[in-house]
Symmetry: D2
Amino acid sequence: MTIGAELDGAIAARVRDSFARQGLMAHLGVSIAELGAGRVTLRMPFRPELTQQHGYFHAGGTSAIADSAGGYAGLTMFGPADEVLTVEFKLNLINPAQGDCLEATGRVIKPGRTLTVCQLDVWGVTGATRRHVATGMQTLIRIPGTGTEGA
Amino acid sequence: MTIGAELDGAIAARVRDSFARQGLMAHLGVSIAELGAGRVTLRMPFRPELTQQHGYFHAGGTSAIADSAGGYAGLTMFGPADEVLTVEFKLNLINPAQGDCLEATGRVIKPGRTLTVCQLDVWGVTGATRRHVATGMQTLIRIPGTGTEGA
Amino acid sequence: MTIGAELDGAIAARVRDSFARQGLMAHLGVSIAELGAGRVTLRMPFRPELTQQHGYFHAGGTSAIADSAGGYAGLTMFGPADEVLTVEFKLNLINPAQGDCLEATGRVIKPGRTLTVCQLDVWGVTGATRRHVATGMQTLIRIPGTGTEGA
Amino acid sequence: MTIGAELDGAIAARVRDSFARQGLMAHLGVSIAELGAGRVTLRMPFRPELTQQHGYFHAGGTSAIADSAGGYAGLTMFGPADEVLTVEFKLNLINPAQGDCLEATGRVIKPGRTLTVCQLDVWGVTGATRRHVATGMQTLIRIPGTGTEGA
């Protein structure tokens, strides 16, 4: 499977359905910006409810969308009944998290039967300007489905 | 300074004031549970607005309170006008994040003039039962104040 | 199993045997200092062949013994035919790596059927003085044995 | 400065000189394969002295060359008297570390006055075949020189 290739409709529907069940994503105002095979981008518009003490986006929000983007990037490559869990992630916060919105992209670097590794990147977007605000890495584990639950 | 020792009142007030300005902490319903020198615990009660797709706490919330707990643990050891930024953090999610609330403790392992390293731990708490749900490590940078701003 | 408890003789022999097959450990002059259930300490005496450009221990040696200590700490908790692989590790280098020797301790924080998480710590030891030079975290994966190979 | 651009001769000489003083690099048989602005590749041919228990390259060697490659990538972007230290790094080991040699590339993602972040990648190389064996991230700190020591 080519990373970034167009997603099968059933897989895309499954990701959108799972995303819609994440209470935190709705609470933070996050939406899916792009869905591709092994690559997912989430978008979170700025709101005062998302800030740290200096009025920028809080690193907790940055990491929430980075983690979700990576998890769904992995999920696009799994079987129809499989689930995904984050094993661990690491994030370097390299620029102030400012902008009209943040966009987080998770991209599968190494798919695997048990473990999958993703690159995580977050940008602060203001109009046509994009600034790289965080970069990281994530390890996911595939939880095999029963084979019927996805039917 | 002994890690966990009682905090000077002015420093405690400064941490509480900064915490109160973090829009995300209020939006997630987080409060300060314990403030000590180089050790801070935050508490986040369960709400459906904090969940991932299976109804547990979302890792984004887990990492938000872990990151804030560590940042404030570091801040307690800085000068009165200094600020703190997270350079990077890494979190291993070791058990399902379930419970009446999550409690995140940041604890300074290595204070430094420029960089400070914290241990991060998060527990799921249900009544008297505490389960270790995440453990991690964080690097903070001290942003020296002007010497007047804290006065 | 209690972390640090005395190891069964057969498991200890298995760890020593595996360690003896690691060409790099011999090449770096590393020996086993302590073997317990879920806790292993390795020791690496100072030699000019282990230095970075300022004459301290090179971080590569520090991470080599930290990684091996953690891997063997995990292996002590697996079945007799299982193998262990490092999934990932992260190390913060918190003080100059100086001393007559370095000692690295890997300690299991979260044992698991598939994944095991270890805390990694490295000290610079000079006589009775121990200085904490690195701290980190490691994720291991158990590779199940055939059930006969350990017989 | 463009990442990967040709290096000024004086900076290249400084990196080679520092590298030559790293006892561990000689002991592991590592050489500099490529030097560019903000991008350095090191090469380590296979030897039994570099193995783990299954005869592959030990993760300690993998991380030693990854760390050095990143450190020197950062150093190429600093002033002539500055020094570099690794603050922390994280490495995911994504395929067995096999091959005639390992090649590690460190590439600056975010240069900074105090902190610099590098991407780390390691390949196992056998003839014309390259396999990605590790990927990671590293935080470096610039230690400002006195301004005379590099003269």
